[in-house]
Symmetry: C2
Subunit: 346 residues, 2 copies
């Protein structure tokens, strides 16, 4: 943790320590020394992940608040921890701030991060701040833990396992499009303001399925798991490549929110395409052996989380295919979620 | 670990995994899943630190190679781990690369990081890459471990303890000035090319005193420790504030390299001021109870590392003072190391 002179860093670090730092039996040394010291929980493995958010690649300061950006960075990491079935515990935050960002902006960024982390009692234990000549950069590392051997990886899917997702798909992409200047006028019925708000909120304030991830690993219900940051099409591909299997998805089964259906009608786009390509939903995609399906349904009901069976794992030679609403089976398109900057005309 | 489409990230991650990844009993899951999984070593606490390097703030692509930048990022983190007396173990690397950076550049950046980490067998376990519209950003998180209770913190210095530093001071600042356009023509004898090379190398390729830090903690020789990233004047202030003490430094005792003395003569600058203000030397500053001084000298001789007693810890009311070569005692100037960008005329 080096010190940079701009941003009145010493005062800022002290403010952050007071607002978000925590010491106790587990955090022996938090913010303020050369490094943080923590006592690892017994009988558990450590889980570590890191995510980077770049201005004009992952967010646009004209449409996202500093809290939104912090929230999104936290969720990207918490969702990675959730996808292992682990418990998030500590965060390290690095920020490079352009001259236009003041200390109150930085505090709002931290507030967004820590508000998203609060339900899981994640403690801020360190970080770094720097001036940036151009553009805001945010790098977040989150660590967690899981009982030894219990983690859910990408490589455990077996032929015959059922493919499940949490929540609904494509909402965040629709929300992003509504926020961006790319959104054209309605071609059909205009979107209700509640639908518009729902979709934009799904983009701005996604949630991470941390508790459900832990339950799936604790009860050993899932054979493989990944979170949907790139979109179903891209992330299913990762899961299948790691597991050396193929998959068949049923387009009619894809869980779509009523707001997404309304958006698709209003904009003349295909809701299935939105569900396959839309990234940053941060839903969990996981595979379940058929014998465990009933138990999964019970657990999901109790947790109040929607889970939907969207297909089945096939042999590798089958490839990745989607059964369309017409009954026709076609290859899953190769797409990777493109952040708004890459998609915008430059 | 999200995926971004630029940089051909999937191929790059696979290359990185093959070149630098490592799995074994400790690394259960490295690069390629949602998060890494490691088994924490028994009876040890975890140490975590993170550092951010920003183009045109911490480095200049006109004078630093990609390997240099990677090296510097690794040393900044390894030195933080060293300053706790801990053993570095794992690294997570996030890079935001501008359009001018290609995959080979990024691999060279990783090579610089991993070459600096290799002596300590630090494994690369994760990271994130992203496009950057403007400027190169590098965020590195390093974790390590230390026997429970053995860490050397900033707050352990006691009145009467002796103040020590490793190596020599001010060299990196002289090297930076020689590299930058701020260097004016010699006023005295010109610098020999070997002296010039030595100083530039100290700026470009600093080392972290990882093994000595571990020895100081294992033998409980130091009461407090910090690494010199901001410069002696700034970092001594941190150590004394955390320990609630004052300090008296002897200017005649400050360890200066012959190259720094030659540089000072040639440029007409005060070598003591360079030693007090120069940042990024990554030497260790630590305090030693008088009873342990002889043992420290023996240990340092055996390790082949130069350690120098430069002063003594005084009560808080004494403040921070430096005894000049003339015998006059003055207040230590309040300075914080300023990176070249901040110091350059804009």
């Amino acid at each position: 943790m080096a010190h940079r002179p701009r941003l009145h860093e010493f005062r800022l670090i002290e403010q952050l320590r007071r607002a978000f730092g925590r010491t106790g039996p587990a955090v022996v040394r938090g913010i303020g020394d050369d490094a943080a010291i923590i006592t690892p929980p017994k009988g558990r493995q450590l889980v570590l992940t890191t995510d980077l958010l770049v201005e004009d690649v992952h967010f646009d300061l004209r449409t996202a608040s500093f809290e939104d950006i912090g929230h999104k960075a936290a969720i990207a990491n918490l969702s990675d921890i959730a996808a292992m079935g682990a418990r998030p515990e500590y965060a390290l935050v690095s920020i490079a701030a352009p001259p236009s960002c003041t200390a109150p902006h930085i505090l709002r960024l931290y507030k967004g991060i820590m508000d998203a982390c609060r339900p899981y009692r994640v403690a801020l234990i360190g970080g770094d701040t720097s001036a940036s000549p151009r553009g805001l950069f945010l790098s977040l590392t989150v660590t967690g833990s899981i009982p030894t051997g219990a983690s859910l990886r990408r490589d455990g899917a077996r032929v015959g396992d059922l493919l499940y997702v949490t929540g609904t798909l494509g909402d965040a992409l629709a929300g992003l499009t509504l926020l961006s200047r790319r959104h054209r006028r309605s071609v059909g019925l205009p979107l209700k303001s509640s639908e518009r708000r729902f979709l934009i909120d799904r983009h701005r304030r996604p949630i991470a399925h941390v508790r459900l991830g832990q339950t799936l690993s604790a009860l050993r219900l899932a054979s493989a798991m990944i979170d949907l940051s790139d979109g179903l099409s891209g992330d299913l591909r990762h899961l299948c490549e790691h597991s050396r299997v193929g998959a068949e998805i049923d387009a009619t089964a894809l869980p779509l929110s009523s707001a997404l259906r309304a958006y698709a009608r209003s904009s003349g786009t295909d809701p299935v395409a939105l569900a396959l390509q839309g990234g940053e939903d941060y839903e969990l995609l996981f595979t379940v052996p058929p014998a465990k399906q009933r138990m999964l349904q019970r657990v999901a009901r109790r947790s109040g989380r929607r889970v939907t069976c969207i297909g089945v794992i096939r042999p590798k030679a089958f490839g990745l295919r989607v059964r369309e609403t017409t009954g026709r089976v076609r290859l899953l398109p190769v797409t990777s979620y493109v952040h708004f900057h890459d998609a915008s005309p430059e």
